[in-house]
Amino acid sequence: MTDQAYNFAYLDEQTKRMIRRAILKGLAVPGYQVPFASREMPMPYGWGTGGVQVTSATLVPEDRLKVIDQGADDTTNAVSIRKFFEKTAQVETTEETTQATVIQTRHRIPEEPLSEDQILVYQVPIPEPLRFLEPRETETRKMHALEEYGLMHVKLYEDVAQHGTIATSYAYPVKVEGRYVMDPSPIPKFDNPKMTMDAIQLFGAGREQRIYALPPHTEVVSLDFEDHPFDPSKAEHPCHICGAEDAYLDEVIVDDDGTRMFVCSDTDYCRSRVEAAEGKE
């Protein structure tokens, strides 16, 4: 089969239309989980089938795509999804955050602030923030509809009671425009404050068949207690490679003695800082 046998960006036009309708509805009701008829994709669930479908419905031939996995451009998931769209959509790809028009991400928001002409697509494993507290879908839907979010704070209460502080460090629940409580996908809570941004944010959950979205400049507030306020923490180190103090860091064990190194999780950010420093010298 030749590459031309694929429709542009793999999915057929009717499917993309259906997904776009869900995206538009999601943008109209920020934070609301819109059900959609998720398709079988040529990759296993949990590898970003939701994000890939949203990206597929969003891409136009002029787009330049960047794909990151935990902030990195060179990990398996990122490389294979990038290759997938190179092959099926023949769009340009890039590793530079500022050059990309569409960025598909797993578990991170790039350090570089995004602009109004960019779209950030998240891969979401479990879109329902209340799921682990209330297993019934009928009940969680009702709770969203009636804005009954006391239960979300029960989870935070349990955290403080057990650990003395809110120990949730990723997938930290947020409230969108004072209405819907939303799962920001498993990004570190360090990234939560960045969610009020200039770019459009789209969230796709393939297995769970849900799409939700945040239009630009949407107010996103992390839930907390008055006496235990939200704290977007990160490791207390500078990056070992580029020296950045303000970037989210990965902890890397480098030898059998357990020697540790902290490096930027956003590889493009780290590389561009190193290049800029070398340029100055």
Binding site: L133, L146, E147, E148, G150, L151, H153, V154, Y157, E158, V160, A161, Q162, F225, E226, D227, H228
Partner: protein, 256 residues
């Protein structure tokens, strides 16, 4: 005096079968009413209809709301009804497991209703939880234990604390002492009686245990086959039963 709860001609059918029918009564503030009858007599169906868990087929249930006075809770919108059921109403289940979150600590269980009505200060929520656990005789060092680590009696007391923390005015109880052994049951009843008097609660208690209503209830309603067969003051009904079925019920109690 306005009744706190005014029930008119409640009927609930399960297909051709009667769940309960023709039930009407008024409950006044501070009053405790017992509903007794054998299994299948429609007691629990009635209670669930009143508490909004089951939609009755006909009838009206007026509740004296704080804002707007008497309102029919059945025609109320769902958000309003759910708001009532976490503020002014409380529901104590027979099995504590139905009324508790078993995966959440005792403190979290008590705090849930507070957080559901907007409490966002951890210290205050915890202090209220500890205070209420104390009132139902659960010591402070158990506040972070899960209900799975509690005995049946403690679970039931925890369920009470969880329900009463928002200061409800009307408590629905479905066999609150069912399945507990007699000494634990006696302590729970003692506690319940204290709380009801102290907080001026109104309550509707569904039970098949006549001793429980003798201790707790001011008034009694006897049900058989989905209908009310006799009503009256508790002592009057129990000491001088008029209806044949009530006579049978009273004389069936085992004497020690």
């Amino acid at each position: 005096m306005t009744p706190l709860l005014s029930v008119r001609d409640i009927a609930k059918f399960y297909g051709q079968r009667i769940g309960c029918t023709d039930v009407s009564f008024d409950l006044y503030p501070g009053e405790v009413m017992g509903v007794v009858g054998e299994s299948g007599s429609g007691k629990s169906t009635l209670l669930n209809c009143l508490a909004g868990h089951l939609p009755p087929d006909t009838g009206e249930v007026f509740f004296d709301t704080r804002e707007a006075g008497l309102r029919d809770t059945l025609t109320m919108s769902e958000p309003e009804r759910r708001m009532l059921s976490r503020t002014d109403w409380a529901f104590v289940h027979q099995h504590a497991r139905d009324g508790l979150r078993m995966g959440v600590s005792a403190g979290g269980n008590v705090g849930e209703r507070l957080m559901a009505v907007g409490a966002r200060h951890y210290g205050d929520i915890r202090a209220a939880a500890v205070d209420w656990l104390g009132r139902v005789e659960i010591t402070e060092d158990r506040v972070d234990d899960r209900p799975t680590a509690f005995s049946g009696g403690m679970q039931q007391r925890l369920q009470l604390a969880r329900n009463l923390v928002t200061g409800p005015r009307l408590v629905f109880m479905d066999e609150p002492t069912g399945g507990l052994d007699v000494s634990v049951q006696a302590r729970l009843l003692d506690l319940l009686r204290g709380l009801v008097r102290e907080m001026g609660l109104s309550a509707i208690i569904v039970t098949h245990d006549l001793a429980v209503v003798r201790l707790l209830a001011d008034r009694l309603m006897v049900m058989k086959d989905g209908r009310v067969v006799e009503t009256g003051l508790t002592d009057q009904v129990l000491d001088d039963p008029q209806h044949g079925y009530t006579q049978l019920l009273v004389s069936s109690v085992l004497q020690v």
